[in-house]
């Protein structure tokens, strides 16, 4: 049967769209049983302290309070909340409740009660005596600091990531190719700059939440707003020290994730309450908690040394990344890698590179996974340095990139030696230049009214799933009347994978989209999938769907042939019927489905898994135009043009929205979203009033086009889209501001104050 893209590549509506837009009760808190205990966490007011004494008698006496748990009541085995494949690279450095608290907001006690009012009252009645300790707040002084964030002897690192808790090191390492120092010495120009990005919040509209119940078999059922249902199962089992067989995880509709929900931020609290009391329990994080005690982007300081000859050929790249994992090590060892792996390979001609990194513990909120996952931080640094190099050479940064960019067929030494088999980065640049009007606008224009307009450019790449590690799976069942059930373990978090994967299946099976019903995710039912992260779903689970459909077609032909008294090599399947090649008979899919429900010993059900030895990068180019008020330093974004190569867009509407949404998040990071702390380590931006995510008045017109390559290892030529799109705004906007105002802002966000101070020599 021929496999042609008909439904793939068409802008079909998401299967759950109408339920969402009519406000149906489909999210975690909407479907929680009415008798759930309300669970809340008492949080530390200190950045670093030991709980000397904790008295809960008063709290327990409040009418309606069912349990109050302290560090004495939880298992003593350390685990990680990072949703990663086992053995996790993130260290086992957590307890559900610990005697040592490590950031302002760390969990001290868990209270469960019948009403919110009772729980709030009980929280106020818990008496805690703290031995307040000196915290490590500055990540630049954390490594080898005499104050240790994790002095405990049972701290454990499962993987060789260069971690050492006695040095405040969550990970460290160095990778290189060629002799970077020797090449830098012979370069005509060397740019050396340091860039700083903050611990931005994903700020998905639905905060962290989960509810837990016991089923009739005494198993713990966790319904959670998560991207990683199977990892939640394992992590809950580790945290509670119970067999994995005792845990079932269900993912309903999710109100956004962006990586935040790749960490098991909230699930353990109701889980232990239900496990110990037998009663249903629910936690819903306030926005305040989501801001101060969650899993934001790793703060990074990236030092770049870039060597080039006088013609602008980039010959060497040296990168040192210092990453702040905060109080716990979730995603610390892995995010840092992308700051080098997804930035250095953009430059295909470099003779040598070196990438060195340290990931340190501090007494700040623990960091986690956020769309871009380290690549965003590394690309702000490398792309900004390339822009500064171009300015130093008096060269158009587009031309500089055209000379140096990775092209299809290039080997990428800093990307595990993978070959860029599908790469339309050059076409993306050409198209962006045209749609943006780059040549007319570069570099700046004085508007004559105290305002100057400037333009900037940046490139980006990401991966498509974690090579040689991630697993995507799909199960297909043929049912009566010939409709299919597609079961997936990948988590649709609003991205639309329930629909795009069904599109892939429909084209493989030559049927209508409506002939495929999708179910995801229930760990008791769905096939194993690592989860929806690392830009994996379209590429990896999509590939699993293709494999599963191929196996299903073979089964249908086998069964159809049996009903036609033929052998499988004498028949063909066209999506609607199995027919004899000699034209002497046929049976419809509907009849096969119905007949197989009687007197049948051959299951029309298939599961296939998929993994990939490579992680083909999507690429993109972004161009920004800003207007800077030369009197105040205020920056207004006027235009943003982006061209993306994500391979084949499976659903052009959804790839477009992903791109526009990722760009808006990137614009927020570039211009608005700041993270600042009090001297005692309290986060100031603890609400959406202080933490300014862009409103619709803050984003300019975002214009998106696609220049598709074809990735042979992906489903219908697809690569990923979700993450690559967040990376270009920061460096492109910073360069646009530099061209307008002559000020290079190397610490995000780019505020009027910083620009003003830069223009007035107070930087």
């Amino acid at each position: 049967m021929e496999r042609t893209a008909k439904i793939v590549g068409s802008p079909v509506m998401k299967k759950d769209a109408m339920a969402l837009v009519t406000g149906k009760p489909v999210y975690t808190d909407d479907i929680a049983p009415g008798d759930c205990l309300v669970v809340k966490v008492l949080r530390s007011p200190h950045a670093h302290a030991l709980v000397e004494e904790i008295r809960t008698e008063g709290a327990k006496k409040v009418p309606g309070i069912v349990t109050v748990l302290t560090w004495k009541d939880v298992p003593g085995k350390r685990f990680t909340m990072a949703g990663q494949s086992y053995p996790e690279p993130s260290p086992y450095d957590r307890l559900i409740l610990d005697r040592r608290v490590r950031f302002v907001g760390d969990a001290v006690a868990i209270v469960a009660g019948e009403t919110e009012a009772a729980v709030d009252r009980a929280l106020r009645l818990i008496k805690v005596s703290y031995q307040v300790l000196e915290p490590v707040l500055d990540f630049r002084t954390a490594k080898d600091n005499p104050i240790l964030v994790h002095p405990e002897e049972d701290w454990k690192s499962l993987c060789p990531v260069g971690a050492d808790n006695k040095r405040n090191l969550c990970a460290s390492g160095c990778e290189k190719d060629g002799d970077v120092e020797a090449v830098l010495k012979t370069c005509d120009y060397v740019v050396e700059r340091t860039y700083h990005t903050k611990a931005n919040q994903q700020a998905m509209m639905e905060t962290f939440r989960a509810f837990t119940t016991l089923d009739p078999y005494g198993r713990l059922v966790v319904t959670a707003s998560t991207q990683v249902p199977f990892h939640v199962r394992r992590i809950i089992a580790h945290a509670l020290d119970i067999p994995k067989a005792k845990v079932r995880v269900i993912k309903p509709r999710i109100g956004g994730g962006f990586g935040a929900k790749q960490t098991v931020v909230a699930e353990v609290y109701p889980a232990i309450v239900t496990w110990l009391t037998g009663r249903p329990a629910k936690i819903v994080y306030s926005r305040y908690e989501s801001q101060i005690a969650s899993s934001p982007r790793h703060e990074m300081e990236v030092k770049v040394r870039l060597g080039a000859d006088k013609d602008g050929m980039i010959r060497a790249i040296d990168l040192y990344t210092l990453s702040n994992t905060g109080a716990y090590g979730e995603h610390g060892p892995t995010t840092v890698g992308l700051s080098g792996h997804k930035s250095i390979p953009l430059y295909g001609n470099a003779e040598a590179f070196r990438f060195t990194y340290d990931v340190v513990y501090t007494n700040r909120m623990s960091a986690g996974a956020y769309r871009g996952y380290g690549a965003t931080q590394g690309l702000f640094a490398v792309e900004s340095a390339v822009n500064e190099l171009a300015d130093m050479l008096h060269m158009d940064p587009v031309k500089l990139r055209e000379k140096n960019m990775v092209r299809e067929g290039n080997v990428m030494p800093a990307y595990y030696g993978e070959v860029a088999n599908s790469c339309a980065l050059d076409r993306c640049m050409a198209k962006a230049k045209e749609m943006f009007g780059w040549d007319e606008k570069f570099p700046a224009k004085d508007m004559g009214n105290g305002k100057v307009r400037g333009v900037g450019v940046a490139m980006s790449m990401q991966g498509s799933a974690i090579a040689g590690l991630d697993v995507g799976s799909a199960t297909l069942k043929l049912n009566d009347d010939g409709f299919y059930s597609l079961l997936i373990g990948a988590a649709d978090m609003g991205t639309g994978c329930d629909t795009t994967l069904a599109q892939v299946a429909a084209d493989c099976l030559c049927c209508d989209l409506d002939n495929i019903v999708v179910h995801g995710v229930d760990t008791d039912v769905s096939p194993y999938d690592s989860g929806s992260y690392a830009s994996s779903t379209a590429y990896l689970t999509g590939g699993a769907v293709v494999k599963t459909c191929d196996s299903m077609i073979a089964k249908i032909m086998e069964k159809g042939a049996e009903y036609l008294n033929s052998s499988a090599d004498e028949v063909e399947f066209d999506g609607k019927r199995v027919y004899r090649l000699d034209g002497s008979g046929e049976i419809s899919l509907r009849d096969i489905g119905n007949r197989a429900m009687c007197s049948n010993g051959y299951a029309l059900e298939v599961t296939e898994s998929n993994t990939s030895p490579s992680s083909p990068p999507p690429f993109m180019v972004g161009m920004a135009e800003v207007e800077v008020d030369m009197e105040t330093g205020a920056v207004e974004l006027l235009d943003y043009a982006a061209v993306v190569d994500c391979g084949t867009p499976l659903n052009p509407n959804l790839t477009r929205i992903q791109t526009e949404g990722g760009l808006a998040q990137g614009i927020g990071m570039a211009l608005y979203e700041d993270i600042t702390y009090s001297p005692k380590g309290q986060l100031y931006e603890n609400s959406l009033m202080q933490y300014k995510i862009p409103s619709r008045q803050d984003v300019c017109p975002i214009r998106v086009e696609f220049e598709s390559s074809y990735e042979k290892t992906g489903p219908f030529g697809a690569k990923s889209i979700g993450e690559v799109v967040i990376n270009t705004p920061s460096p492109a906007i910073a360069s646009a501001v530099a061209h307008a105002a002559g000020v290079y802002i190397r610490e995000l966000p780019i505020t009027a104050e910083k620009v003003y101070r830069g223009m007035n020599g107070k930087g």
Binding site: L20, T22, M204, E206, N653, A664
Partner: protein, 158 residues
């Protein structure tokens, strides 16, 4: 305390706590479309109508609804579906969590403004945050929806 109000066209009498927020009250009455995205009146997810005017139910006491009319997305289901289809046509609902609040405000805007410009639309809806879409797809959907409606109205007027 006891309040009497009309919720989605139905007269009801209810016992509430004096400090109960309208958001928690309407959810307890089964209006699960109403969402909380923050506690600081910044995100617009909890938008409902009080006497046909959009308000943030997270910062409105339920007691204020006494003797008044409260409308949630459940009360304007047909209209929500009509506009929602335009959002869905663009893929601009994405996670969908902010959709009910946005739709309540779009429908209120439609009643309040005739033929709004793009700037007016952005200003009217500035309080409705969305973290998924970057707002472009929502704007396309709103324009398409209003244009269709405009076309129909023109026809009737002639």
């Amino acid at each position: 305390m006891e309040i009497n109000l009309t919720l989605n066209g139905k007269k009801i009498k209810a016992q509430i706590r004096p400090d109960e927020l309208l958001l928690d009250f309407v959810r307890s009455q089964g209006c699960r479309s109403v969402k909380r995205g923050c506690e600081t009146a910044n995100c617009g997810l909890c938008t409902v109508w009080l006497d046909e005017k959009p308000v943030l139910s997270c910062s409105t006491l339920a007691a204020r609804a006494d003797g008044r009319t409260v409308t949630t997305l459940e009360g304007v289901a047909a209209e929500a579906e009509a506009f929602g289809a335009y959002l869905a046509e663009e893929g601009a609902e994405q996670c969908g969590f902010c959709s009910p609040g946005l739709i309540m405000n779009v429908l209120a805007m439609e009643r309040e403004l005739s033929d709004p410009s793009e700037e007016e639309i952005k200003e009217y809806l500035a309080g409705n945050l969305c973290r998924c879409t970057g707002y472009m797809g929502q704007l396309r959907a709103i324009r398409n929806y209003l244009n269709r409606k405009g076309g129909e109205t023109d026809g009737e007027n002639r």
